[in-house]
Amino acid sequence: MRIENLRFWSPWIGSLLVGLVLVGALPSLAGPSRLAAQESGDVGRQAVITVEGLQCPFCAYGIQKHLKKLPGATKVEIELAESQAIVSFQAGADVSDDQLRGAVRKAGFTADTIAWRSCADPKARPCVQR
């Protein structure tokens, strides 16, 4: 390759490299909950999903049914009074907010907020089915 050609390509190659680094970093930037989960991965974790308008038991059980299918889910509880679905995952389960939102969407609803906590958190429900 001639020197003139290298001069032409070098800015493009530099931009490409910077782009690749950014793309590689995106998942960690977009997924703080995933990082938090990995930190508490030893004991499992729990997602508390708020779903608006959750008054119909058939719909609530539908959300439960779809959330149970997520990889690593050990338990799903529905709290109609609080319009919440509480999903527990085994240690090391790698589930994102998007997956949770997708499961709720499949059940015909929209997830409002999602809060994560470790199964070791004193506020957490028991993470395994008794």
Partner: protein, 337 residues
Amino acid sequence: MPRCSWAICVRLLVLLFVLAAVVAVARWGTRWSVPHAAATDAAYTLLFTWDGATAPGGSFDRPIGVAVAPSGDVYVTDARQRVVHLTPSGEVLGEWGREGEGFGEFSNPIGLAIGPDGAVYVSDYEQDRVQKFTAAGGFLTAFGGSGSGPGEFNGPAGLAVDEAGSIYVTDFYNHRVQRFRADGSFDGVIGQPGRVGAGALHYPTGVAITTDRVVIVADAYNYQVQWFDPRGVPLRRAGYHLLWIWPWPVTSTAGFSVPTDAAVGPNNAIHVADSGNRRVVMLSSEGAYLTEWRVPDADPAVYSPEHLAVSRDGTMVYATDLGRDRLLVLRATMPRD
């Protein structure tokens, strides 16, 4: 006399067109709002609330399914993954079921129906199957499976069995009702997914069969009740209100808000669980409003009642109240002819 300018004339024409369209939609939409029967003495009276406290596994925990046997015995499913068997007076005779995927085990038993021979059918919302038991809880057979093909379910909810022994299952997430022969083999589909048009179903949750095999479907999220003939041809509907093109729950007596079940008595009077309005509505066999009864002290966070059952003589109606962990026992007074 001032002359009509071009711009004003066009605006007037558009306004007239819009008005005509609104009137046309309103007239068409009200065709299947719930008509009112002439004043009658039909009524509901609350007789008892049962909490199942003497059941071996503990009192009712979010009861959702109910059925009445030809003998008058009452069966209830709840979140303890079981079927509770009660006498007509509410004494607990026994229970069966536990968490699991084997025969006689459940993950979420929701629907209940009794066959003409007294067999008990239970739908499992999570396991996408229906199990058949003897009246005392002995396992007989099971059918179904997850999917959207013939004979498969995605959230089997309400059940009904006709006099010939055919089983009808509302398939919640597949937006249809499926019929099975007494041996559990697939026999056909009633309704199709949709929001608009006769026969379109949107998250159906309950089903009932009249003595002449007319199928009545609680089409919960189309906010209506639909009638089909035994071949599945749509006959009639009630509850869809004025804005048919944008269905919305109705709180007046002219419509429903998430009707989750229907039950039919021997005189073909229809009882509807209008759960979003927390009431039971009685309709004539033609679908005309007769009377209603509101659930007392209903949990504001939970629609109620979920499912209904009616005694063989038509005088008693049983309604599950999941939010309050109880079964409501009503006396139904039929209108005099």
